[in-house]
Point group: C2
Chain length 223, copies 2
Amino acid sequence: MSDYKIVEIKEDITSRNNLFAKEIKKELKERKIFYMNVMASPGSGKTTLITNLINRLKKDYRIGVIEADIDSDVDADSIAKNTGVKTIQMHTGGACHITCQMSYEALNALGMDDLDVIILENIGNLVCPAEFDTGATCKLVLLSVPEGDDKPLKYPLMFQVANAVAITKTDISHVFDFDVSKAEKNVHMRNPKIPFFVTSATENKGIDELEQYLRSEINKVLA
Amino acid sequence: MSDYKIVEIKEDITSRNNLFAKEIKKELKERKIFYMNVMASPGSGKTTLITNLINRLKKDYRIGVIEADIDSDVDADSIAKNTGVKTIQMHTGGACHITCQMSYEALNALGMDDLDVIILENIGNLVCPAEFDTGATCKLVLLSVPEGDDKPLKYPLMFQVANAVAITKTDISHVFDFDVSKAEKNVHMRNPKIPFFVTSATENKGIDELEQYLRSEINKVLA
């Protein structure tokens, strides 16, 4: 143990209005729509993984995508180009997360009438989006190899609220000091029974398992 | 251009109290302390770069470090062990950024009497910390190669408020599709005249240039 002291500095965080969350969930259930909120750090491979999954699932389900960013439309452009599914780009005007209200506006802007699965690619941020229920059926959290296996220790809430965790970019594991078993241990410390996937979207590794998990979860909603 | 629409969904973001910022800056100026706020995504190499810089600067300046995290003390442990300088771990109790008030509490907890340089390693987050002035003399923003060269497009404010930007982890550029000249163009689109460094802390590339820049900035404060 090295020589340093730990100072606890806390501040109240005002929870925003999550009143809509239950109502969104109820409406989606009635409409038989599976709504997945994908959360991760900036540059963790969200768009690449989502693209891969959509191209596996789109023959069986009608899919729509909401791309949330503070600015730019590079992700919506990429998703629309590489999957052909209905996609909208949401700009949050500086906001670091998506609230229920924003989520609901985006769902309506996308249109829910002809969709089975809606995927929200949240703002790249391991902190704030964890605090805001968007009304999603499933929260998929990604952790990329370059970020390091210690992230569940530093960003506890994100891994606590997740329904499933996928490690991404394992194809470049050879250049990083990333220990998958440590990452799994750290994730399960935060969320003991959570499904844990080890993937590379560019090399199609571990995506079969994640796809099977999602099909099973989607089918529960569509049944 | 692919087929998708852009929906502008805005929400007011309440600015927290930044009243202390000017007072902190005034006090630090009087005390002749250079206070650097290092901001970046989770896992972007903040701790490794800070460690390298401290080991170059510590023979000439008295340095202290404030490690800010939501939870864990892995970074404070690493900094204390690998540099030997005075280090404190600040826990933010879930907060996604450091406010002036938290910054000032931490500066006092660290102790300012015997220091020339104080480095704050902020929460890993490209969004919220950009909005909160901590009273720092200099804001150094890092962007790591695995995150991608498009990040200044998606996270504009962070690159607008920065005083200097360093690309990190260039030693593993060969496994990523990262274009340094595109990154530079994107950074300078947000902040035209900002100093831009291309570094690898593990291979000591580009760190001489960043060190020289910091020495020059530090010496302005100590003069």
